[in-house]
């Protein structure tokens, strides 16, 4: 794969001979393969070395999303208050590396692991990380997306239809992907339709997977990159806030979102920085919805593996551990179990 990447870069960079080294695939990445590598080349007499990240579509995954949309949302926020890596090249041709891909600059010197953030020495800076996390989320929620690359690739719902658009989408995913009936999720979907939230306060960029695990942080509590924009869309900003509270990412198993902050503090940071309100009834609706969406993702991975479109072992692991757990998390959110 080094040779193919080098050949590709030789057509993109002002260089005739590019060397690709330190190529390795990083763990995780159940929806796209994520690879790190360094590239070096000469520009005149000067040797240039840059670190890159390559995100490549696998044959099958937890999600079937459009990398062009992800690329557009990343590009939208480059240079804004929302830190993102700089996008470099988007390649739709699947023949070059065996699947469409894009390449972005690598942000160096950061952590992203969820097991690291909940352990010393990072426990000491969790309040700072949490403040930054929810202030950045507020910046996403209040960002003017009109005229940006995101606006070109995403359809904006109205404040009244934002909830229905997302619920319709994820109910359809569950219907298409479930290998067995999902009575608990179906009951939740009926409840969501019978108890719609109030209209969105505004139509915002929604990251779609905003949580601990999807940003790059340092030991002083600073955050230097928001990543994994593959489910980004336009919608109700409460969707992201609720998603960050989902029990699936309570990594410390202590009831705190992300294992780093209590929800009241997180809401206070977000409301103060955004000027928006987290209406408890609306937030609860989006929290129930977040379980439906999670289940849609896990079921998609389960079917991909069951049908033999992939042998990525993370997919059955997710199915075995999270499909039943997600039902239980939903039951807890709906007050059915303690």
């Amino acid at each position: 794969m080094e040779a193919q990447i080098a050949h590709y870069l030789e057509a993109k960079l002002p260089a005739r001979h590019v060397r690709v080294t330190n190529l390795f695939r990083i763990p995780g990445g159940a929806s796209r393969e994520t690879w790190m590598f360094d590239a070096s080349w000469h520009e005149g007499s000067e040797e240039k070395v840059e670190a890159f990240v390559l995100r490549k579509d696998p044959p099958a995954s937890l999600l079937d999303t459009d990398r062009e949309v992800e690329y557009a949302f990343y590009s939208t926020f480059w240079g804004s208050k929302v830190p993102v890596p700089r996008m470099r090249w988007l390649e739709p041709d699947p023949n070059i590396l065996g699947g469409p891909f894009f390449i972005m600059d690598r942000i160096l010197g950061c952590e992203s692991a969820t097991r690291v953030i909940i352990a010393p020495p990072f426990t000491a800076v969790q309040p700072e990380i949490a403040r930054n996390m929810y202030e950045i989320l507020a910046a996403i929620a209040t960002f003017d997306w009109h005229g940006t690359p995101a606006a070109r690739v995403a359809q904006a719902p109205t404040p009244e239809t934002a909830w229905r658009k997302e619920l319709d989408h994820w109910e359809r995913i569950i219907s298409e992907q479930e290998l067995s009936p999902q009575p608990i999720m179906r009951a939740a979907i009926r409840w969501l339709r019978a108890n719609p939230p109030p209209p969105a306060q505004r139509i915002s960029v929604v990251h779609g997977d905003y949580r601990v695990g999807n940003f790059l942080y340092q030991s002083d509590g600073s955050i230097h990159g928001i990543v994994d924009w593959e489910m980004a869309h336009l919608g109700d900003p409460l969707e992201d806030l609720a998603w960050s509270f989902n029990e699936s990412w309570q990594w410390a198993k202590d009831g705190r979102p992300g294992g780093i902050v209590d929800r009241e503090t997180a809401i206070a940071h977000w409301e103060r920085a955004s000027g928006l309100k987290a209406d408890p009834t609306a937030l609860h609706w989006w929290e129930v919805f977040s379980h439906v969406k999670c289940q849609g993702i896990w079921l998609t991975g389960a079917r991909s593996f069951q049908e033999g479109r992939t042998n990525e072992l993370i997919l059955p692991l997710v199915a075995y551990t999270l499909i039943n757990a997600q039902d239980q998390y939903l039951l807890r959110t709906m007050g059915r179990i303690a």
């Binding site: 390795f24 695939r25 990083i26 763990p27 995780g28 067995s180 009936p181 009575p183 608990i184 179906r186 009951a187 009926r190 072992l313 993370i314 059955p316 692991l317 075995y320 551990t321 039943n324 039902d327 239980q328 039951l331 059915r336 179990i337």
Partner: protein, 148 residues
């Protein structure tokens, strides 16, 4: 077959996680071996309990459907009736029991949706009993021997 399949898969998991893992050089490779070990543990547990869980659950759901049939009408009644008419699995293969389970739980979804629209105390009471069964069904599916 002895040793029990569950014990064999536990042995596979322990070997992967203790002997093989340390020989793997890349983080992605280590993650893959770790996942394989965990899946071996879970598959071993599921191998032993799956048939029992499905037989138990199919019996309970059939009883709920039979009781609910008298409380629903309209579009739901034929769906519930059809679920009740699902033949009992012809053998004890997990795939056969699972196919029966899927049809019964499809009927349970229809029944519960219909009960939610009924104000009668009997419907409310049965709806609560369905919720209790759904909660219990998640407990039956919990893994106890997970390594990660």
């Amino acid at each position: 077959m002895r040793p029990d399949p569950g014990r064999v898969l536990q042995g596979v998991a322990v070997n992967l996680l203790t002997n093989v893992m340390q020989e793997i050089r890349t983080p992605f490779g280590q993650q893959t071996v770790g996942i394989a070990g965990s899946l071996a543990m879970m598959t071993g547990e599921e191998f032993d309990r799956a048939a029992d869980r499905l037989v138990t659950e199919n019996r309970i759901v059939r009883a709920l459907l039979a009781e609910g049939l008298a409380l629903v009408d309209g579009r739901a009644a034929p769906a519930v009736n059809a679920a009740i008419a699902t033949p009992v699995a012809p053998d004890f293969r997990v795939s056969s029991l699972l196919a029966e389970n899927d049809r019964l739980r499809e009927g349970l979804i229809e029944l519960q949706a219909a009960l939610e629209l009924s104000p009668s105390p009997e419907a409310r009471a049965l709806d609560e009993r369905i919720w209790a069964e759904l909660i219990e069904s998640t407990r039956r599916r919990e893994f106890k021997n997970r390594l990660i």
